[in-house]
Amino acid sequence: MDIPLTINSLHKDLKEKKYSLVELIDSYLQRIKSFDKEINSFITISDDYAFKKAKELDSSLKELGKDAFQKYPLLGAVVAHKDLFLTKGIRTTAASNVLKSYIPAYSGTVVKKLEKAGAIVIGKTNCDAWAHGASGENSDFGYSRNPWNKEYVPGGSSSGSACSVASNFSMFATGTDTGGSVRQPANLTGVVGFKPTYGAVSRYGVIAMASSLDSVGHFTRVVEDSKKIFEITRGEDGKDSTVKNNNFPKPNGKLRIGIPKEYFIEGIEKEVSEEVKRSAKVFENEGIELKEISLPNTKYAISVYYIIQPAEVSSNLSRFDGIRYGNSRNSFGDEAKRRIMLGTYVLSAGYYDAYYLKATKVRIKIIEDFEKAFKEVDAIIAPVSPTPAFKIGEKASDPLKMYLADIFTVAANIAGIPGLAIPSSFNKKELPLGFQLLGPKFSEETLFFLGEKFEKATSYKPKVAKL
């Protein structure tokens, strides 16, 4: 059977009774078995759980008929969770040896919400340990390979989730975006990556990295699915006090997109910047006004990020003492140690004012830049990664070089605004290219609207890598 590529086509197939969900799970598992040895998307496969759920939903479908799709908006959509999402009874490792054999006693809010909406968990995906990285190479479970060209990284930190969607091992996948960890791997693997507004989606039951920056997003093949999933994941759960039920206003009137001149700087590869400009033209041809804007403090974003983020990392990872669960702190890998120590340094007596406090002040300057820009435009178009996927091992030995891969993504986390990474084409090496749309807080509907407009204008077809 052909595995459907979108939730719409899945539901069409199910209505026509082309296959059962048990058969669908079989097909996914066969595909994973055939190809994931090389790609290494998954740390754990939850086949027993998936078959059990598929059987339950197959009976619901029989019983309720078409009403089942009302009750379960994501009925049968197979999801791979980044291994930072707690799944009751299914091992959750954060891709670190510290949690190598940790089995959670409860599930995270997003995991529960998706399950209630009819999604089926097929497994837990590889990532940079504790979500620290931009290539997937910091995993204690081995790196993942980019499905489009296996000599290249898939990006990170949500490496396996991006690979899973690009390889058609799942319909969609969850991820966390603290400095670009959904948008960047989506960009490098040619799938849609969504980072919500800070405070739109609960982080309860997701292993924390940097709490003032963390957001829970997802990977899909089309914008429409991204929107459908966000409709399920968003909203208050009473367990993450940053989350409030917000209005997500629909776009109206004539839209304007800003092109920030500071995002087209030296160091960005020409094919990346050209592709973003070409994509901006697509919007212009659709009647959307383009406007050059300025975000002058963008140049400080990486420095602000690499002070605040490790500071919060050092605090969040202090709970891993090996007493109540997990192994001892000796099991932390290099990158976690580096960030814990960096964070401890910038928070320590004598350095706090110079680094941490200063960074929180510059953070405000970056937020003000965006606020000013969004008075003039409804969204911003920008590159995601400064280069297409890079080769495995290319940046692994130089942490600072790896950190600079986040240069265009971290500002959205610093300001807490939503971002949508959209694939647009491929370069000569068959590596994906794309762009991101950023909007003011809670402007998700505008981003989805623009994303769908782009797909329609370019007759975009969902793609899967040939493995």
């Binding site: 940790y102 089995i103 006693a105 409860y106 800070y198 405070g199 003032s212 009473g238 006090s241 940053t242 409030k244 403090n297 400080y300 990486i302 420095s303 602000v304 690499y306 002070i307 050092s314 202090s318 003492d321 007493i323 109540r324 669960y325 997990g326 702190r329 000796n330 932390f332 140690k337 580096r338 814990i340 120590m341 960096l342 401890t344 340094y345 320590s348 680094y355 406090l357 200063k358 960074a359 929180t360 002040k361 510059v362 953070r363 405000i364 300057k365 937020i367 942490p399 600072l400 950190y403 300001a415 807490g416």
Partner: protein, 99 residues
């Protein structure tokens, strides 16, 4: 170049409860110095009249009623399920006081 000393690395590692080998000390000393050197560019940013922030939601004092929801509680067995080092329903920890 901003120099973090070997002594500082040892001190930070101690604060963070991390064991680091001699080799790691040398490696982290160089890498952390490089990173700190880079982020020190923030000195150039003018933040004269800016107040620092620690969170960006604008929300204040999110509260809930002080009620126990049994559905959200772990059983004793579940709470202890992450470790084998238990004793009579408690977590076992190393002694911190001497007799």
């Amino acid at each position: 170049m901003t120099n973090i000393t070997k002594q500082q690395i040892i001190h930070i590692a101690k604060l963070a409860k991390l064991k680091v080998s001699e080799k790691e000390i040398a490696k982290f000393q160089e890498q952390l110095s490089n990173i700190i050197e880079y982020v020190s560019e923030l000195d150039k940013a003018d933040t004269k009249n800016v107040k620092p922030i620690s969170q960006i939601t604008g929300l204040l004092d999110t509260k809930r009623e002080d009620l126990i929801n049994k559905k959200d509680c772990l059983t004793l067995e579940e709470a202890l399920s992450g470790t084998e080092n238990t004793h009579n329903g408690y977590f076992k920890v190393s002694a911190i006081l001497e007799k």
